[in-house]
Symmetry: D2
Subunit: 136 residues, 4 copies
């Protein structure tokens, strides 16, 4: 059973904007890095879920920005599951700066829904659903 995962990386130059800070949509991409890592830790790379004909699409996303991230800052994303349903997963995230000085930069949440290869809603495959339930 895992409760949460930590993913660390540095802010890339191309992620900054002319305000000198990381461009705000990038935080959603960072959350996805955390989510990918979380799912990998369950023993199931996300690429494998797609090979089973199941696509997890973001249906809802929200980010609250507390403090900006700058180029080359060491970022840590904490990711955990908030709820598991047969057709939807809720993830929560905290985006922290580790270096040069620790701070909470943002909190976020996303709701993912399971889709088939044609983009239609479907149930999560049972084996995958069980992995998520056990992780809660």
């Amino acid at each position: 059973m895992i409760r949460h995962t930590s993913s660390s990386f540095r802010v890339r130059y191309g992620e900054t904007d002319q305000m000198g800070v990381a461009y705000h949509p990038n935080y959603l991409a960072w959350c996805e890095i955390g989510r990918t890592e979380y799912i990998r830790r369950l023993g199931l790379p996300y690429a494998e879920i797609e090979r089973q004909g199941c696509f997890l699409a973001v249906a809802d996303a929200a980010v609250r920005y507390a403090s900006p991230a700058r180029y080359d800052d060491l970022i840590r994303v904490e990711t955990w599951l908030d709820s598991v349903k047969s057709r939807a997963l809720d993830f929560r995230y905290q985006v922290h700066r580790e270096e040069p000085s620790p701070a909470l930069l943002a909190t976020a949440r996303t709701t993912l829904v399971a889709l088939d290869a044609h983009g239609r809603p479907r149930r999560l495959p049972e084996s995958i659903l069980n992995l998520f339930r056990e992780a809660m």
Copy 2:
């Protein structure tokens, strides 16, 4: 007085992901295109606001995704102001597909706060604040 603006553009190849649809964080960048256009229509390019030492930073963002956008789809973002305060602006957005078939793809909202060149909260310059108030 303007009530809302419409901004149109096509989905770029690089905005798609391997699910074959536009990658979800891009919607926040599209909302910014709408916001830029809205502010330009007030007679004040955003670049000019920054030259006055005022930076509008996204403090809060939320997107609800209804239907996916695909490569080369013609997108139209409707943008309007939802509230104006001396230190914060709330914008709302609807992301529509115009071609090949019309559909509402997403709704979104962002809260922007005014910062000075050092990233500290500040009041919006009075002349700019008035422009936003008149636009409501």
Copy 3:
């Protein structure tokens, strides 16, 4: 017969970096906008080429940067075909700033090779090849 196409758009906020100019890899994405437009003008949207099981992958790209682009600058990309072979296309590009002051910002070239759905080299479908040849 078309000789070249012009594609215009404004630099997005998220395309800038902390140097205050457009991040250099974006120019390759802008060239793709020009290429997309060029192909569309041939009467054949690129999405249609993919539906025929033919994918045009960039095998080689080069950009020479002369002058930076800034947020909200109006950009115009001139695109033309430089050579057409049964398995490869060479495109050339000029990236211009139109507003606020005209300037040549960059020149670029890309070689595209035709791939099938499995990523293996293939000949361009004859009808598509003819369209490209006529455009030269």
Copy 4:
């Protein structure tokens, strides 16, 4: 003295496009990750160079793509200096896939020129120039 650096990271979901592979302009961003790491290894974070009023702008870039990268592939960028002049640096790169199966994905080169805060060409600060020369 360092001869080259290795930088490793995984392909992000948002870096893929609908062809199912990493979108080609991203390779230039990956080269920048390698370059950042190279410069950091010299004992001088790039952010520090900018604080000294020296900006390294990409004046010329070329990428040769040999094989595609896919989502979640483990990428390794090898970076080395090819030439050092008082106003320009040439970097070379090899982009390798480490997992799931090793392969050379691309080779690239970039020329960087030193600019002051106003975007005008300048000499590299002597201390920084010496660090680069010693690294050759």
